[in-house]
Subunit: 123 residues, 3 copies
């Protein structure tokens, strides 16, 4: 039941944005061992100058960053998170996103913090 | 001092979006015992295909999901959270949102994590 | 490696929004002792009636709130956070934002929750 927020420049065409979302979902499924059907994502397309990232801080060379925020239950160890980051970046690269432009931030909560619809059961 | 993020399809008319925000506020007040004046909400209206939710995962049948993110102080037990989820879904239903289409995710912080304006005091 | 979300009315001109983002970055650098290059920000410009804040709750008088969400690593004590809030509000005031209209919410994670690009190293 992760909830994914994707913030991307609105110069990226709609079909490409949706392909990014597919790639991110596949990366989460691969990296976390998550069901591919466990898919809840929101895409925010914003003017390029409203997405601000230092080009070189911490290493690499950023040009057009895609911010990916992941809210998920606290249950994955660091090795699993690293595997997920790598899987997301690799799959986004296949869609044309430079790996330096992938920026992921995770935020964790608990199982009781989710309400997935009236008839949904918590994962 | 919860901060609420509402992500809704931009096909929902503006007045309806605002009615959803009212309903969500009333649901939080009812479910958490929160003051109705303790209201801080942001509505993001997005293209329908930018709000992605698996139609059946975990049960129910989703069609046009409204994502509701709640950032609030860690102080409510699970029974209280459940009462709030139910109150929000019930009040949104009165505005025409199917209960299966209500998706809530809570995220918690502490009282010291809020700055409610220069003359605001932390709740 | 904080990630900053700025939600502001779209009636604020683009150059002003960017000036707000500069001011917020400078306030974080001053208050937290953060590098100014450690800058990752997203600006969401929204219709004014989609940014909802009670005008007087908790004190002060809100008119046109700027919501600032800060996701950062859990490592700052309360005195440091307070210094940062004050620095952000002061620097925004220099750009014309009334201090009562500054609303900040912090959310914390850990160092392992960040992936700052393929060649980025965690802060």
């Amino acid at each position: 039941m992760p909830l994914i927020t994707i913030e991307v420049a609105d110069s990226v065409p709609v079909e490409k944005r949706l392909a990014y979302a597919d790639a991110i979902n596949a990366g989460l499924a691969e990296g976390l061992g998550m069901d591919v059907e466990d898919r809840f994502q929101v895409i925010h397309a914003l003017p390029a100058n409203h997405i601000i990232a230092d080009p070189n801080y911490l290493g690499g060379e950023r040009r057009e960053v895609v911010f990916i925020r992941i809210l998920m239950v606290r249950m994955y160890d660091n090795a699993t998170k690293n595997r997920m980051y790598e899987a997301v970046a690799r799959r986004l690269e296949a869609e044309g996103v430079r790996p330096d432009d992938v920026f992921i931030a995770v935020n964790e909560n608990t199982l009781e913090d989710w309400y997935p619809g009236a008839r949904g059961k918590r994962g």
